[in-house]
Symmetry: C2
Subunit: 220 residues, 2 copies
């Protein structure tokens, strides 16, 4: 009885494009542009206008025929689906170079993701400060478990990732952003997204190799 919208499933491909739409809309709002057509926004985001309209149609009917979309309203609506109003608590596990870089990344907080703690295994790092955070030992994870963690970011070596994830899941964490180059196994209802730098480079390597072998690979 929350909302009687035709609760249809939203394709994952659509969901993956929403952050980009939102970012572009926020940019044009800064330019005081009040209204935008599907053609203009599609151009900015590098997608097809029909696809953009279809994507938005999964979320609701926000446009005005003959006119376009109201910038502010569309930002509000996409934001609602992405839950940007909520502030999410994020912990980072792994205080290596990557973990520290992520700690310092202001882009997260602007989008409602609030890094609350960073953990590491290495006792010599404990207590050291990064971006205002004192590094805690991972064994404190279970102790601090009162803290409501919405998302955990895994920035550990590959070999430790699965163990850490199991522990996070056991204290109730249900969303994981994994930077460790390894496959994470989780039960149902746990959301894992993987970011693998080396894999991205290897995909680029495929295209370089294709060109060298004289195959077009009609590029990325």
């Amino acid at each position: 009885m929350d909302q009687n919208r035709k609760s249809k499933r939203i394709p994952p491909t659509t969901v993956a494009r929403l952050p980009l739409y939102l970012r572009c809309l926020e940019e044009i709002k800064l330019k005081k542009i009040r209204s935008i057509s599907s053609f203009e926004l599609a151009e900015l985001t590098g997608h097809n206008a029909a696809q953009l309209r279809k994507d938005l149609s999964y979320l609701g009917e926000f446009g005005t025929r003959g006119v376009g979309y109201d910038t502010t309203e569309l930002i509000r609506q996409i934001g609602k689906w992405l839950g940007v109003a909520a502030v999410r608590s994020v912990v980072i596990v792994g205080a290596g170079h990557l973990g520290r870089a992520l700690c310092n990344y202001a882009g997260f907080f602007n989008k409602g993701f609030d890094v609350v703690d960073i953990y590491d295994k290495d006792k010599s790092k404990i207590g050291t400060e990064i971006a205002g955070f004192k590094i805690k030992h991972i064994d404190e994870l279970e102790v601090n478990n009162s803290a409501n963690i919405d998302v955990a970011i895994i920035a550990t070596p590959a070999g430790e990732a699965q163990d850490i994830v199991d522990r996070l899941v056991s204290i109730g964490v249900s969303s994981i952003l994994n930077f460790a180059p390894t496959k994470i196994e989780v039960g149902k209802g746990i959301c894992v997204r993987n970011v693998d730098f080396s894999a991205e480079l290897q995909i680029i390597g495929f295209h370089l190799a294709s060109i060298e072998h004289g195959l077009s690979s009609d590029c990325c």
Copy 2:
């Protein structure tokens, strides 16, 4: 006259899975496992066995019916398509927290990607050392242009990314790994891959919001 294999296009989705297959194969090779079936490798990578076989069939016929795939041979073949034998020169532009973390990431070199230089705009950073590299000023990009750069990694703020990419393209760089949260425009034949941390978190945010709104979102 290189190879008279039926030069069919390989689906991008298949290409994107190859690095994962390769990684799992290398892991099982370390365990001295000589041979693997499509079912076993599919299990390890979290994919369907039929999909795995179809993916591999785009690259050639490497298996033995009734037996499976020879680990070493399959590693060799996938590696060939990803061009792992070649050593690729990589430059990193942007010596902020992320750029420095990437400089220190050993995983690249292991996979044939050799970071040769890191550039920044900030004059106060020039000459500073990171992981053995002296940071250079981006205006030296064009000067050093003799260096054969295979891949450039963009780790600059969003506002500077497009300009840097244009300069890289003008000196002949044709592959870009972009970490800046902005859309990069390039001409034909230039390969750009984007990695956007905030977008990944926002996608997770979508699932969290779906759960809160009582929608299943049948998770990631």
